[in-house]
Every structure is written in structure tokens, then in C-alpha cells.
Amino acid sequence: MSVSVEPMSVEVSGEAPAVALRPHAEDAFAHELAALAAQDDRPRPTRWKLSPWAVATYLLGGTLPDGTVITPKYVGPRRLVEVAVTTLATDRALLLLGVPGTAKTWVSEHLAAAVSGDSTLLVQGTAGTPEEAIRYGWNYAQLLAHGPSRDALVPSPVMRAMAEGMTARVEELTRIPADVQDTLITILSEKTLPIPELGQEVQAVRGFNLIATANDRDRGVNDLSSALRRRFNTVVLPLPESVEAEVDIVSRRVDQLGRSLDLPAAPDGTDEIRRVVTVFRELRDGVTADGRTKLKSPSGTLSTAEAISVVTNGLALAAHFGDGVLRAGDVAAGILGAVVRDPAADRVIWQEYLEAVVRERDGWKDFYRACREVSA
């Protein structure tokens, strides 16, 4: 389930109408990276495309001396980004933790794009990820024909990153079986990958580093061994601190998504976005925004990424089937789908919330009615 959720945060970033449905970060923001590189006069670690300062600026946004505006890729505490970038610069591996939808994958992609100019050296962790995905595999036709040789070897993204001094990414580290995870230990501590079949090894060159992401909620599925854990510096990406921050994130992303999906620009959906965010936050935190009423929390994660998708969905509805203005009815169905994951328990929670909170709230009448309609 969260596997399906997670990709949302990775979703599109497209700026220009590219052929690819979702261009890589280094392509989508190529001009920003180029502008940063051109004006970056600070020291760069070996094989880094940008200095650590420029990487932090790329993620957090800012205006360059020549007037180029760098859009913020991550909205959140500056401190976190600084620690993350610094970690990569110290050759320690970086582990991004957080509940689904807190932009872990998004951050890791942009970090890799800014540091190495390539965010594609990616291993997607699943319960079935084999050792070959992290070490190397064999081209069996070659192997049978010519015997073991470097030509017959199929390098993994991690191995390529080591050889070329790039940043490798491992998504969903805690979903990978423990024995496979542990192959990372040698890579991270000795910075080398032995190939016993050939009596050779691949040594990481300077510039190599690894960014892993993991869900907090998955802790314990395949918890990291303490030996592996010790090789990582951990940064926990939090949920947005305030309603304002979250509304801002949602509007910004919806705007970007809308462009890449060719949705007509909606006049102003901010009110509706604010409502969606408020509902998500209240249910997630288990307490109303004024702090007066305790609420039960449904089983879904109700992350910011889901709020973004609810709003995007609503925009599409409004554009294609409505009058082009985002209204309560357009988001109601999306919210219902996001909140009610467990048909029995969550439905009760949602009804309680509607009756106890939404109905009483000033100016939410239309929203209440819309929700009642879809819930009925």
C-alpha cells in the first residue's frame, strides 16, 4: 500500500512539456542546475557538479546574483537540508526517514541530481529485491560462451556509481530482505565491492555516495541491522509544521502537476486546498485545529502527497466536467477515498468527523453537503 503511495511524492515535476511523462529532476531543472553551476564559486568536493552550498540552494530555493530564480524543491526546515548535504559531503551514507508522503524520494532524487547530475542510479527496494540488484549479475550467454570475465558481468546501479564516483539511490531500504540489505555494509564501510568470481574488486572512487529512503511506518518490516544503521547519518523528514506551510506545498505542487498534465489553470482553488489540508491535518493529528476536540485517526497516512493528489484530481474534475472552478464537490470524493481505507472502521471515523466537526464549522456548509452526498 505505501508502495503505491510513495510514488506520489515522486510524481511529476515537469516544467516544460517534455516527451517523457515525468522527466528526471536533472532534466526538468536543467536550467537551474546550469545557472547554479555557472555562478558557483565555492569549492566543490571531488566529482560534485555543485558545491554543497549550491546544492542546498538548489533544494531550498533562492535567487542567484544574476537574477535567476531557483524554485524551492523542498519546503521545510533548512537545517535538515544542510545536514543531508553535509552528510553526503563527508562520504557518510544518508538515510532519509519519514512517513509516506513526506517527500523522501523527491528529496533524494533532487540531491542526486544536484550532486552528481544523474538521479537514475536507482535501486527500488521491494521484498523481492535480489542481491544482484545491489552488487552485480551475470549475462549468462556471455558467461557460458566465454567464462567469467568483466564482460559477462552486469553491474548494478550501485556498482556503477562506485566506479564512476556518482550518487546511488536505494528506495525503500527497509523493504529489502535483511540479508540483501547487509551486502551494503561492505560497500559503505570498505567502499569496495569484491567480485570473488573474478578475484577482482570494484573500489569506490571519490564522489561516490549513497542515499537511502525508508518509511517510518515500515520500521520493523526488515529493520536495519545496527551494523548497517551505523553507516548512515539519519535525517527524519517531518510532516509540514503548520497549515500554512502545508497549503503552500500543496498549491505549489498542484500548480506544477497541473502544468505537466495540461490541465487548464484553475482560477483560485486556495480555499478548497486549505480545506483539504485542514481535514487531512485534523484527522492525521487526531485533534481539531483549535486543539479543542479529540478525533479518532483513520488507518490511512493522509500525507501531504495524498492531499496533493486529491487536489489534482479535483482540478481535473473541475476542468473537464465542471465549470473550471475547484469546488467542494470536486474534492469530496477524493477525500473520501483517501480517508476511508478500511471500509468498516474508517467509515465510522469519517462520519463522526463530518457530523461533529464539519457540520458545525462556519462556512463549510457546501463542503459538508458535498461530503454527505458522496458518503451516502
Partner: protein, 910 residues
């Protein structure tokens, strides 16, 4: 400026050596030490109240350990007070120690506390008193300090608050003024400028005035007036509104955070390289430029203080020539440098209000130095500063090693490899952020990412234990008495309760005002850890309006009073502050409820909201029904005491009811799968809750009942209104009991107890109880469980038997069941019963046997009377019973007029 420079450079040059510091800046402290060592002045003048001059030698006492504070208080108004906290890393402390070690006189040159303490009071309008210390009556002082301020440590705050005012003498504002908040005044304060070296951070708090209080400084706006708390408030306002000179400097340097700027530019700058005076000179220039732009920063009181300081400096110069060194907030340096006419300075000082002030040293704590406790001295991280000041070298490595040690002690896996990586990360982060050395924020980020796996939980521990720190200062016994002692003396005189070494008992009737006050005093002292009186079980009376104390004044209690002085300057204020702090730091829920009870006993209404909030939070988070059940009785008891003492217990009732609800919900699941010991505990919890629920219902009723009595005899309307809430709670409790009694996974002893309680409440018909008993004691039930059930039902142990003797209905029930058991099954049941009954005392067993032999139901009839209980008739002799009634009424304090009124009063008293 060049002139200045010249002066600064050679101590013995043209004029006094002015060392502008940032209060509590470890870098400043080091620079002061270096400068003093280089200049070797013949006298050291320090910003601080001159009344404390006589106390300076105590600083050399070997029992004196910082952090300590100079406390100034109005003699006849202990609540009006001001504190000047000094830590080991305070430049002023360093200066004092240097002077004492080198046999050089040290003097305080700030405006005398006698004026600064009076400032608030006399100023029209502004709340006079308060300002300073809060002064008004004591209570208020403290009150203001404490509660309002920060509740946490109030003392500190309070004081702080005050202090400020007082503090600098005027200063309060003064400083404040300057610096905004932070530092208290002076920015300088903060900044104090110092040059420092290395240390970090910060902020200094203000200090200046030490007071730093910082906030104090700010006060200005208002004038002094306001109470401490106001001051604080203002301070805050001030900050917002006023220009922060430090921020101006920082902005000019391209920093968005003035604190960081100070740290990087001043505190982290090369340690000890070169000229010991250079940093002071540079700082003076900066401050000079600021003062030219901003003048006094809006704090007129600063001008008065500075005039006084100038006069003092001049006097010292006359006496010692050029060998004069002055340690003061950097903000004041330009003003002291400035040449102004003596006459003009004197004119400024004319007609200042006065109050009789007294000074002493009091122990202080790091926690109180930290900003979290209010505006205390206003530094965030006293522990970190202390480390910076104390570490001989490699402060970051040493710090992270310390952190690793702490985490290891808490059983977290932290290896040396972690420390190495943390150091690397911290240093790289510092480079990334463009700072010369890793500061607290870099090390904290590194600890979080490397040692804590990104979690803030262990980090909170690090912050609490290391960054803030637990250090408690000590003051030699020779230090003069603290105001708390004076306040205590006064109260003792007023209540005619003399401290005597001889042990004696004191009976208090809480219905009398004087006795009630005595009781409150003793309870408050107990809260403060001053065990003058120990409560004893009252002899011969179980009334809640009576208390018995054993009094004994031990000499060491005086020391305790001194120690308690950190909490406040009056008994009430100190007890309030202590209670609030205790509540926040309490470990378990039961501790908090016990504290709530003590707050009511000691009548600390200001502490109660904090305690209640903590209580509600703890109760909401505590998942262990056992804890909740333990907490409830004390809470309910508190309610009853509150009744007797006329305290408003509305909030308490609410919390208690909420607690009861949680127990109702959690109890049934918590009773599953318990072993014998746990089951026995649970039975006790059930009993305790049962009693508490009954009383809780009564409390609700009595509160309303009292109202009803006032309103008129038979106001059936309100009576019925009362009933639901009351009945509701009990009703639900009975439902819970019913659930317990019918659930097989619940241990027998709890089930039996539940049935019995239901029976007693009349919620379970007798034959239903009999059926349940038969069910349990039938062959299908494991023997152990059945025995436990009986034990729970009739009450095991030594007390249970008497109940059976006197409760004929109960005995009849058991008896009827027993006689109904078929002969062949009897031998199986026998061991179970024996297990319960053998625990009874022999006398009880015999009486039971006699009763049973007589057969069921006989005791109720007149015929069996003689045998029942020797000396008693079977039936009531109504004539004789009536004769007793007037006496009973008298005992209960009832007039005996209207029956309905009696009832009400009874309820109320109970």
C-alpha cells in the same frame, strides 16, 4: 575612538580600563581574565549593586560554588526582590575571583539596589511594586513571577522578571533597553561584548543587569512598573517594537540571526591570539557607533545608572589612579567613557526613590539560568557555556564524547565510531554554514543525525541534561539570611507558631482561621522540603477538619530554608514555584495526583492550574489502568479537602471525572490474563476505584447540595439536576462491574469482588448473586479460581471475617449455598472454603460458627437476640436511640432545627 583605543590598550594609561562584556558569555569571561592578567589593575569595578560589596569576600569561600545569584530584596517586603545570577563562566564572576585571588579590591558600581528596588514602587502608576520584584506584597511578587512568568521555575522568572527591574537598577529597563531582549539590556549584554573567544554562544543574556533578566531590560517601556511578569511581557513587546542594536550590527554583516552573528564574530574569534585588550576595543567602537545612533535606546533609567557608575569610576580613579578596571555590559562602555560633568551626573541621581534593601548570596541553578524558565538570566544553554568555559581544548570533541557518555548511560548504543562521525559532520556543517567553529546547533544536528538516528527523543535528554544541565550552586553558611527566612519569621510571629527544637504535637481545627493558616504554612513548608512539621494520624477523630502535626525545628532546617530560597522570596511564592516544577518533572501519574492533593492542602491556587494540566496530560497518555486507579483516590480525597477548606475544586472535579471515565473504559481489558499477584493488585484497584467513585459522586452532589441549601430547603429541581451526573458516574461504574463479574477471563478474585460490590450497591438481586456463586463453585470451575472468587466475594484476609459476622445477608448467602451442595460434592468444595476461612482470626471463626449453628435468618428475630452479640438487644430500642440523637447532632455541629437543613449540612461537612 582612537583615544579609546589608547585607553583600552594600556590599563595604566589614560583612564580606566573598560571591559565591555556580554553577560554570561564564556568567551567574554575568558577575555576578561586575560585582560585583567595583562593589565593588573589595582581595583576592579563590576556592574552590580554596591550593597553587595560586603558579600564579595564570600565568593572566595570554599563552600561557594556557582551558579549563585546575588539577591537584593526590600527588607520589609521580601517579595520585592531582584537577582543577579552569576555562573562560573560569567565575566563578572571571573572578575570577582580574579580580584580576590590577587588581593585586589573589587567593588560593585551599579546603581544601589535600594533605588532600583524602589523604582517600581514609587513610580506612579506603573505598578509600582511589581516591577521590581514583584513586589507588592510578597505574594504578589512571587505570584507574578512565578505563575505568570514562566511557570516553570518561577522563581527564576519571577525573579528575573524582577530583577531586571531591579536589577540593574533601573536597569531593568536599562538594559533591556538595549538589547532587546535578549540580552538584556545591553546588548551589550549580550553582546556584551565581549570579545570572546570562543565560546559560543550566546546570548547572553542579558545580563546585564543581570538581571538579565533580561527581559528586564526591556521593561522600559513601561516603566518599570510592572510587575515582573509584566516586565516580561513588555520585554517581549519591547523587542518587537524596538530596534535591536545587535540585530542592526548583524544585519550590516549580512546575518539574519543576531545571536549567530555575535557568536561567530565575537565569541568564536581566535582564542587568545594577540592583544588581550583588542577585542574590547573593537567592541567598544561598535557599541559607541550604536549608541551614537540609538542613544540610550529608550531606556532612561540606563542614563541614571550610567551616571552613577561614572561617579563611582571617578571616585575609584581618585583613589587608585589609573589602575582601575571596569567590567560592565558592553552597552554601557561608551557611556562610561564619555566625559560628563560631575554636577550633571549628580543631578540625575537626585531624588531617587529608596527602599531599605538587603543583599545576600543564594544558590542558583543552570536550569534557572536558561531561558526556558522564563526570562531567567536568559541564556539557552548554560551547560554548553559551562563546557566551553571549562574545556581546556577541543571543545567539540569533548562535548560529543560527553553526549555519547550520557546516551550510553541511557542504554543507547553509541560507539566511538559514532563520536568520530559526529565530529566530522559537525565540522563540515560549520564549514557549510560558514562558521569558524561548530556551535551548539551544529553539534546538535550532528548528534541527531549520527547518534540518535534522526530522533528527537534522545536529543531531548541531551538538551535537558547537558545543554541546560542540572548544576546546582552552593552558598556558604555565612551568607546572610534569605528573604524567605524573613518571610517565614514574620508568618511564624503572626501565627504564634514558634520554631522550637523540642518535639511537640499540635492539634489544628481547620474551621478556625488561625489554625487553618498554620496548617497551610506547614503544608507549604513540607512542599519545600522543610520538614518542620510532620502530619500524624489524628487521634480519635476522623473528621477532615482536624489535623495533628508533630513539630520539631532542627537546626539544619535553616539551611533548608536557605536552599529553598531559590524558589522564591516568600513562603507562598516559593511553594507555588516548587509545586509547579515538581508537577512538570513528576515521574508517575500518582505523583502528580499526590501533588495536587498537597497543593490543595497548602492552598496554592496558582500552582493548581499547572498541576491540573500536567495531571490531565499524564492521565491522557498513561495507558496503565493500575496507575490511573492509584491516582484516582488521592484526587478524590483532594476534592473532599478542598470542600472543607472552601477551595474551588471545579477543575479538580472535572479531571477526576475524566480519570474515572478512562478507568471505566480500560479496566475490563486490563483484567484479562492476570496472575495471582496481579489479580490481587487489581482487586485492590477495583476497591479503591469503587470507593473513589462513590466519593466522587458525593463531591458532585455536595457541591450542588450546598448551593441548594443556600437557596432554600426543598428545591427539588436542583436536587434532581444533581442526581443524573452523580448517578450517571455510579451507574456506569456498576456497568463496568457487571462486565467484570461476567467475564471468564477475569481472575476469580476480581470477579468475586465485582459481584460483592454490585450486591452491596443493590444492583444485583440476592438470588442472582447466589446463582453466580453456585456457578463458580460448581465442579466445572478450576479449584484455584473458585477459591479466589470466594475470597474476593467475602473479602479475604483478617478483615473479611468481621463482615460476614455482621452482614447477615452475606452470611445467609454463603450458608444457603453451602447447605445446598450435595454431600458428595461437599468434600471437593471444602478445601476452597477452608482456604478463605482459615485466614480469619480465631474469634471471628468461632462467632461465625455460632451464627451458623443458630441457622439462617434467626438473628433477625427477637428470639435469638441474646445470642447475637453479647450485651446487645436484637431490636433497636427506639427510646434509647432517640436519646442519643441530640448528642450526635451536637457532635456534628448541627443545630438540629430543620431536618432538611441537617441533611444538607451533613453532606457538606462530610
Amino acid at each position: 575612538m582612537t583615544g579609546t583605543e589608547g585607553d583600552g590598550r594600556r590599563g595604566p594609561g589614560a583612564g580606566p580600563l573598560l571591559l565591555g562584556v556580554r553577560h554570561h558569555g564564556p568567551g567574554s569571561a575568558r577575555a576578561v581574565r586575560a585582560a585583567l592578567a595583562a593589565a593588573r589593575p589595582r581595583v576592579v569595578l563590576i556592574e552590580g549593586p554596591p550593597e553587595a560589596d560586603a558579600l564579595i569576600p564570600l565568593a572566595a569561600d570554599e563552600d561557594m560554588r556557582p551558579p549563585v545569584a546575588l539577591l537584593a530584596h526590600a527588607v520589609d517586603e521580601p517579595g520585592r526582590s531582584a537577582f543577579w545570577p552569576l555562573a562560573e563562566f560569567s565575566p563578572e564572576w571571573v572578575a570577582i575571583r580574579w580580584a580576590l585571588e590577587h588581593d585586589v579590591p573589587a567593588r560593585f558600581i551599579d546603581l544601589p539596589a535600594t533605588h532600583t528596588l524602589a523604582w517600581g514602587r514609587d513610580e506612579p502608576g506603573e505598578g509600582a511594586q511589581e516591577p521590581v520584584g514583584g513586589g507588592d506584597g510578597e505574594p504578589s511578587a512571587r505570584a507574578s513571577g512565578g505563575p505568570s512568568g514562566g511557570k516553570e521555575d518561577e522563581p527564576s522568572e519571577g525573579t528575573a522578571g524582577e530583577l531586571p527591574a531591579g536589577g540593574d537598577g533601573k536597569p531593568p529597563e536599562g538594559d533591556a533597553v538595549e538589547l532587546p531582549v535578549g540580552g538584556g539590556g545591553e546588548l551589550p549584554g549580550r553582546g556584551g561584548g565581549r570579545p570572546s573567544e570562543g565560546d559560543a554562544d550566546e546570548l547572553p543574556a542579558g545580563r546585564d543587569g543581570e538581571l538579565s533578566a533580561g527581559g528586564g531590560g526591556e521593561l522600559p517601556p513601561e516603566g518599570d512598573g510592572d510587575s515582573g511578569s509584566d516586565a516580561a511581557g513588555q520585554a517581549a513587546d519591547g523587542v518587537d517594537v524596538r530596534v535591536d542594536p545587535l540585530a542592526v550590527l548583524a544585519e550590516a554583516a549580512g546575518y539574519d540571526d543576531p545571536e549567530r552573528w555575535w557568536e561567530d564574530v565575537v565569541e568564536h574569534r581566535g582564542v587568545g591570539e594577540g592583544d588581550a585588550f583588542a577585542p574590547f576595543v573593537a567592541l567598544e567602537e561598535a557599541m559607541g557607533a550604536l549608541r551614537e545612533t540609538y542613544g540610550s535606546g529608550g531606556h532612561d533609567r540606563d542614563l541614571v545608572r550610567e551616571a552613577y557608575m561614572r561617579l563611582q569610576v571617578r571616585a575609584a580613579q581618585r583613589e587608585f589612579g589609573d589602575g582601575v578596571a571596569v567590567v560592565c555590559g558592553a552597552w554601557h562602555v561608551p557611556a562610561l567613557r564619555q566625559k560628563s560633568a560631575v554636577a550633571a551626573d549628580r543631578a540625575l541621581l537626585k531624588g531617587l526613590p529608596k527602599v531599605k534593601a538587603d543583599m545576600t548570596w543564594v544558590p542558583w541553578t543552570y536550569r534557572r539560568l536558561s531561558r526556558h524558565s522564563g526570562y531567567g538570566a536568559g541564556i539557552d544553554s548554560p551547560g554548553w557555556y559551562g563546557h566551553l568555559f571549562g574545556a581546556p581544548d577541543r571543545p567539540v570533541e569533548r562535548w560529543l564524547t560527553k553526549v555519547a557518555g550520557l546516551l550510553r548511560a541511557e542504554d543507547r548504543l553509541v560507539s566511538s565510531a559514532h563520536v568520530i562521525e559526529a565530529v566530522r559532520l559537525a565540522e563540515t556543517l560549520a564549514a557549510m554554514r560558514g562558521r569558524p567553529l561548530p556551535g551548539l546547533s551544529e553539534t546538535t544536528d550532528a548528534v541527531r543525525a549520527v547518534m540518535c538516528e534522526g530522533s528527537d527523543v534522545p536529543l531531548a535528554l541531551v538538551h535537558d541534561r547537558l545543554v541546560v544541565g542540572d548544576l546546582l550552586g552552593e552558598v556558604p553558611r555565612a551568607a546572610p539570611a534569605v528573604p524567605l527566612q524573613r518571610d517565614l519569621d514574620r508568618i511564624q510571629r503572626r501565627l504564634r507558631l514558634k520554631p522550637e527544637a523540642l518535639e511537640r504535637e499540635l492539634e489544628l481545627d481547620l474551621r478556625k482561621d488561625n489554625d487553618a493558616e498554620r496548617s497551610r504554612l506547614l503544608h507549604r513548608l513540607r512542599l519545600l522540603g522543610i520538614g518542620w512539621g510532620e502530619p500524624m494520624a489524628s487521634r480519635g477523630s476522623t473528621g477532615t477538619f482536624r489535623e495533628t502535626w508533630r513539630l520539631r525545628w532542627e537546626p539544619e532546617l535553616s539551611v533548608r530554608v536557605t536552599e529553598a530560597g531559590v524558589w522564591g522570596t516568600t513562603v507562598l511564592g516559593a511553594a507555588t514555584a516548587k509545586a509547579e516544577t515538581d508537577a512538570v518533572s513528576a515521574q508517575g501519574l500518582a505523583d502528580v495526583t499526590a501533588l495536587a492533593e498537597r497543593c490543595l492542602l497548602a492552598e496554592l491556587p496558582d500552582a493548581l492550574p499547572v498541576v491540573m494540566r500536567v495531571l490531565a496530560d499524564r492521565a491522557a497518555l498513561d495507558a496503565d489502568v493500575g496507575h490511573l486507579a492509584q491516582a484516582l483516590p488521592a484526587l478524590v480525597r483532594s476534592l473532599r479537602y478542598g470542600d472543607v477548606r472552601g477551595t474551588d475544586t471545579g477543575a479538580l472535579t472535572e479531571v477526576a471525572a475524566g480519570l474515572a471515565e478512562r478507568i471505566f473504559v480500560g479496566l475490563p481489558p486490563a483484567c484479562a490474563a492476570l496472575d495471582a499477584d496481579a489479580a490481587e493488585d487489581m482487586r485492590r484497584h477495583v476497591d479503591a476505584v469503587h470507593g473513589a467513585v462513590g466519593l466522587l459522586g458525593d463531591a458532585v452532589v455536595s457541591a450542588q447540595g450546598a448551593a441548594r441549601a443556600d437557596g432554600g430547603a426543598d428545591d427539588s429541581g436542583s436536587a434532581s439536576a444533581v442526581a443524573p451526573a452523580h448517578g450517571d458516574l455510579r451507574e456506569r461504574w456498576c456497568r463496568v462491574l457487571r462486565v467484570l463479574s461476567g467475564r471468564d477471563t477475569v481472575p476469580g478474585v476480581v470477579r468475586g469482588r465485582a459481584v460483592r460490590l454490585l450486591l452491596d450497591e443493590g444492583k444485583l438481586a440476592q438470588d442472582e448473586a447466589a446463582r453466580l456463586m453456585g456457578l463458580v463453585l460448581s465442579p466445572g470451575t478450576p479449584p484455584g479460581d473458585a477459591a479466589a472468587w470466594i475470597e474476593g466475594f467475602v473479602g479475604g484476609g483478617s478483615g473479611g471475617g468481621m463482615l460476614l459476622v455482621h452482614d447477615e445477608r452475606l452470611l445467609g448467602l454463603v450458608d444457603a449455598w453451602l447447605t445446598g451442595v450435595p454431600a458428595e460434592a461437599f468434600t471437593d468444595v471444602l478445601p476452597l472454603l477452608r482456604r478463605t476461612f482459615s485466614a480469619y482470626e480465631p474469634g471471628v471463626r468461632r462467632t461465625l460458627g455460632e451464627l451458623v449453628r443458630r441457622g439462617p435468618g434467626q438473628r433477625g428475630s427477637g428470639a435469638a437476640a441474646g445470642v447475637g452479640i453479647p450485651g446487645f438487644a436484637a431490636d433497636l430500642d427506639s427510646e434509647r436511640a432517640d436519646a442519643v440523637l441530640p448528642v450526635v447532632r451536637l457532635l456534628l455541629g448541627l443545630d438540629g432545627d430543620a431536618a432538611s437543613a441537617d441533611d444538607n449540612d451533613l453532606v457538606r461537612v462530610a
